[in-house]
Amino acid sequence: MLPTDPTANEKNIHDDAIFYRLFDEAERVRWKMTDYDWSSIEKDHVSPAWRAVAREVLVAELTTFSATERFFADFGDDVDFTQWLTVWLYEETKHPSVFLRWLDVFGEKFDSRFMLQGRVTIPFMPSKMGTLATNIISEMVAAALYTTVGAQPGIEPVLASICNHVGGDEARHAASFYSYAKKRLARSEKPNEEKIAMLRVLDFWMTPELNRRVGHPVNLLANSCKANPLVQEAVPFDAIHAGVENAYKRACRVFETLLGLELRSVKDVRLQLAALDC
């Protein structure tokens, strides 16, 4: 039997858990694989650059299995959160599948060994709040990347629709991780320590010298897209860069509402960290 995490304890799971509400929100907007008309894809009109984009995204989306293993290991005593994680797992598992399906139209095949590449388990950070913060920012950046790709002129229409659906999923997942971070912070006996853990994550992602050490698949995707000349034939470097930078700015403001601290830039993040660390 797992010990119960006091910050995750519910008196009445039905009344106190936020899983039910998040589940309803996701159900209302869920897209289906059958929504797409695969036969409408005019494959002769799709340049190799767009297929390179889909392949980059596919690789980044293979890590859901291992991330879920880590989530269940680290948050196994949080009934509410792990109930919602089943929804997250289901929706995230559709992401590589839908890009595989699109690439299959062009005869691109991927075997099990390829899929297993993403199943390398990397431990999360010791702070649960740090893990939630990482997922808020990574989902926000992922949403920005997908909608940036989806908005490019010349994108194949089915791929554009996929990118907007997947981008929307990522934005909703960021919102859901936020909801659990808010709940955990409200019940924490050491809120300042939780705030420090969250601010450190924000600092790591937003500071260029530190960002190079962020091994999260979304960060690797952003950086690999910016370094891949074939991808940039479809999605220019400036568009990717602007999308990511805008996501960071918005993430600061999202964290501002969560932590009750003024956070307009990475400079503010550093100032608030210094103040809390005293």
Binding site: R21, M140, T147, Y178
Partner: protein, 71 residues
Amino acid sequence: MNETSLPTYSVVPDGCLRCGACSTLAPGIIAMGEKAAVIVRQPATPEEVKAADAALFNCVVLAIRKKSPSL
């Protein structure tokens, strides 16, 4: 706090992805309509303003607008 001293919010339906992120963050304030998110009612407390702000800043297509109260 007087409600008139609080900001008001609106949604630009054309840009909305209808992803459910905003209604997740600001339940009771924003809901999913048939084609786009809709404002159900304006925030009435500072806590609800925080929730609406979280929805605004998390919106990946910047479809939520905020109007500050006139002084």
